[in-house]
Symmetry: D3
Subunit: 239 residues, 6 copies
Amino acid sequence: MRPSGRSTDQLRDIKITRNFTRHAEGSVLVEFGDTKVICNASVESRVPGFLKGQGQGWVTAEYGMLPRSTGSRMMREAAKGKQSGRTVEISRLIGRSLRAAVDLEALGENSITIDCDVIQADGGTRTASITGACVAMMDAVNHMLKEGMIKKNPIKQMIAAVSVGIYNEHAVLDLDYPEDSNAETDLNVIMAEDGGFVEIQGTAEGEPFRPEELTAMLELAKKGISEIIAVQRQALDAQ
Amino acid sequence: MRPSGRSTDQLRDIKITRNFTRHAEGSVLVEFGDTKVICNASVESRVPGFLKGQGQGWVTAEYGMLPRSTGSRMMREAAKGKQSGRTVEISRLIGRSLRAAVDLEALGENSITIDCDVIQADGGTRTASITGACVAMMDAVNHMLKEGMIKKNPIKQMIAAVSVGIYNEHAVLDLDYPEDSNAETDLNVIMAEDGGFVEIQGTAEGEPFRPEELTAMLELAKKGISEIIAVQRQALDAQ
Amino acid sequence: MRPSGRSTDQLRDIKITRNFTRHAEGSVLVEFGDTKVICNASVESRVPGFLKGQGQGWVTAEYGMLPRSTGSRMMREAAKGKQSGRTVEISRLIGRSLRAAVDLEALGENSITIDCDVIQADGGTRTASITGACVAMMDAVNHMLKEGMIKKNPIKQMIAAVSVGIYNEHAVLDLDYPEDSNAETDLNVIMAEDGGFVEIQGTAEGEPFRPEELTAMLELAKKGISEIIAVQRQALDAQ
Amino acid sequence: MRPSGRSTDQLRDIKITRNFTRHAEGSVLVEFGDTKVICNASVESRVPGFLKGQGQGWVTAEYGMLPRSTGSRMMREAAKGKQSGRTVEISRLIGRSLRAAVDLEALGENSITIDCDVIQADGGTRTASITGACVAMMDAVNHMLKEGMIKKNPIKQMIAAVSVGIYNEHAVLDLDYPEDSNAETDLNVIMAEDGGFVEIQGTAEGEPFRPEELTAMLELAKKGISEIIAVQRQALDAQ
Amino acid sequence: MRPSGRSTDQLRDIKITRNFTRHAEGSVLVEFGDTKVICNASVESRVPGFLKGQGQGWVTAEYGMLPRSTGSRMMREAAKGKQSGRTVEISRLIGRSLRAAVDLEALGENSITIDCDVIQADGGTRTASITGACVAMMDAVNHMLKEGMIKKNPIKQMIAAVSVGIYNEHAVLDLDYPEDSNAETDLNVIMAEDGGFVEIQGTAEGEPFRPEELTAMLELAKKGISEIIAVQRQALDAQ
Amino acid sequence: MRPSGRSTDQLRDIKITRNFTRHAEGSVLVEFGDTKVICNASVESRVPGFLKGQGQGWVTAEYGMLPRSTGSRMMREAAKGKQSGRTVEISRLIGRSLRAAVDLEALGENSITIDCDVIQADGGTRTASITGACVAMMDAVNHMLKEGMIKKNPIKQMIAAVSVGIYNEHAVLDLDYPEDSNAETDLNVIMAEDGGFVEIQGTAEGEPFRPEELTAMLELAKKGISEIIAVQRQALDAQ
């Protein structure tokens, strides 16, 4: 039933490559099938103005798409002089989700900025970004521990994200672009390792969705996220 | 337990005043307690470029806060030359929700733009905006019918919105600012009259929230929204 | 002769509602007939950079129109990322006029910012804004006195504003939109309670205006402003 | 009494050099003492969008100051990406004043844009700009007549501008920078050749000004402008 | 003598990977040692406004760096709302160079836009970009030929680019970042396959450079570019 | 062969007028034939943020064109809110070239900003700007010496600039606009008084240029620049 031939509860092939570029304190290439995002975590020993002197750190994120990461070329946001509403919305979502994973006081007066740049898009770029960004943040934190910038690990638990949706009247896991652009409902779920919700965002594209559809989608998300967290763990153990 | 003394499942006093200003085709002042938003719907007999010649209409929304709608003055976005990410995110949410209520083909090649301007904020401005905007849109559609711009009513069903959250470890309905700024979890629910979900957005401000908390919040939202829709209906019947 | 049936020296119905919103230190809804403007005065105990350490305060203003305060919807300036020249010009005029009413040294190193947001426009929005802003500023100053931020009242005298013009070859007082858009000459007069001019701005829309027309318009303005100041005084005495 | 030693009703030395640069259809260097402004009029055989197909033309103006036209360097507005409120206000004033001199229907569907760029500032740049721009516009119109773009001269009458003010309790004509920065009141007067007012803008910098002061200033302005118009006429006759 | 241990006339390891991403008509990852740039060529069957109806095509380029492609994080240009002067300058250089390789009339009324996004920087990003962009453009042209958009190949000849410089008083080829940041002179050379110069840009960072140094650098560039063109040819033959 | 009738190695008439405006510490009008640029040097006793506390100064430049300095009016960059890529590129080139002439440590923690504003353009505006800016900078430095801001002259040597090109298959010196817009190759050369190169920028507009053409152009540039430096010297000796 799915264009890709996957079963309704089947993730795409998920790969996490650490140390993808050389300069960032954490650098990850995350792939959810054909969706590919570079997640670079940068560490700075200072905090934004509104947090100065409050004895806590900050985690933030920025999201972007290469102009030709998509089927037809999008105008370059830097050239237009303006980020789209979608870009801003996703940047905020990634940052908020990652902050939920971190004890900001244990981070000290340090900042981690995670840049998520989509180099190839095939649906689910925001959930792939969060998934990769969490691993990049782990590497950045390890760097900080090694450098003595912090004493204890401020990460409370791993987080991961996946999209689920109603496609052809069925709940399906991890929508790719052909599904996403025809889904009746699209739900992004960000969960912590302990099964708690960090954020859920569901939108009825056509008709409103029913409570039982929500339940079915959340079930799929739970299953998918436990598999994704296993991939994250495996990547982190690898090196 | 609640600062306002309300019970956990009690809405604030909700008022909807139609024909609040003179020029707009639909003009509503919506009040959720001390939160007050002017929702003006403007009709134009044309569509944005990307829809030209496709035989359908468009509904969009813009959100803003007066600089001193809040406890301390915020910089005026027009003077700064940039809308905040929050403003953009809420504008998009309102527009998306309203479109879910409308048969865009039945709207013909016409547009409705709804401006939601917060004149006094006390929590829940985005859900109040959607609630008021839906009524303003109804009035705009009635204007279009009367003027012969459209033949049949394109509104599929009424929508309304409310925030729910976990405050002091309890699920509570319709958070005001003192609750909102201390809530552990905040969930915005937009529902249609038939009980389907148009959009849900939940964020764990501190710890991730549990599935059973989600269930409790959705229950409260359902109850609240049916009461809010009754207020909308009453306002529409009034004149 | 006038579309509204008013006599040439007759003001529209002028209302001033204090404490219109809850958060601002001074909050006024001013109405000149169908022209309605919210004037919120915000107090801050600091001054702009160019005044630091000079032992004086600052008064400034910002003006805006809700997108649908007018007959057809104007683009939202915050969304466009740019204020129009007209908006900037009016903001500067309001601020300059209010500063003329205040002893900036007696204000100490404090600032008052007055936001004038037009919610419904029917001509004369800038003069209504100045009139309402002066009352809001009075309330803000009373707040500062009560809070002990200043010792003595820095307001030198009340100011008010009105438009006059040549319409159908007659000098008329307080132009509404139908008159304003057909006037041959439009003159905005800002006066102090003692009858001195704070600012005058006159523009010939078609033919240049004659000195005797200027004299006639200034006469009308004088009469109108003394009536407006009476309304301001009454509002301030009310509470 | 005046820093320059001039009598109260004495203009600075006023010079108008036509054909100052080569490309513009009208190009004037205007000097009011040490204030020097290049006024270039550009002709285009089209009108802005809002006037298309209405059988009339348009006249508009833009004003700028070279960064070091003043005592200390101002930031370049093009580099800042934003014109100051003052720049916008003056551009609008110049354009409005020039339009008052022109029969826009007789101009046909053509535009004249006048760029006023201050290369050296010593007070009164806006009134010098209007004075020079009017001559540049005359040359541009002569070019249009010669090229057959228009049949008859659309200029209704010459306009000129001067500042007057209250300095040291005396009304004085044509303020230079040392006077302007200490004046109690500053009044810009734009008049037509027939003695009618095109625009007046008066601001009390300190105390409100009295009606009799206004009368005295307008008297001086009238005298000054008739002398300035003589200089304009002489320049136009020269070639 | 060189930090990398290379001889003065030795290029870094140069790799060109075609079909690097999926959507673009030409997609190349180019590596000059640790400098890595994604070059995506996008084809559109229309031309910019200034070329409409002139029977010719257009080639343009945009350059960007991922925020953490460098040793310390740079602010994201899209978030700042402004491209740096350096970014604009390099974008223009790439576009100009590529146009020199193409017969724009043979391209018909089609456009090719090449996005060069640096994912890892180690000196020489602009010359690597041009080198990779030329190959991506070749693939885009092959796509156009296959799709029948054009009849004959509009590429006149291959171009490639390399930096040369004076480092430690010696002329050296293909500077990496440690050399580049300490070079006395930096010269970017863009050459065509036939040995003609497309563009040269040389800058004395400290002391002016002598004519004989220029000659030595140009010699090295010539040698380097013929090797680079061999790598381009090999990549193009590969598939 | 040249439209102007000049011989291939003949400069246009070059004039340098010092003290052109009154406020700047160095103010020069430079003319290369019909190309006229005002170069104003401003001195400030502070440095940009990135240089604070490093015991050295800074020299920077900004370039602009009056909207009607060209054959048809260009949009005013300040009104557009954005400088063109060309403007940014030229500003950077002028600043970089001037810094090559100065011992920044000997300048102390002071800045010189040179504004180059083209009032009439006829080709070669960037090379004229550099030539004039160098003289303005000399005057600014003399001002600093006289005021005791610096002890010794930080200028290492004079620099000047000229364009050369291939026109009609011949190398020609100092291209004017009719030549520039038809040149096959355009090379801007900035040289120091001792004959060293400060910057060279050559672009093949059509076909790539050959090494022997480069040699011929550099020869012409050398001759031209020694003549231009003589004009600079003469202007500096004049007063």
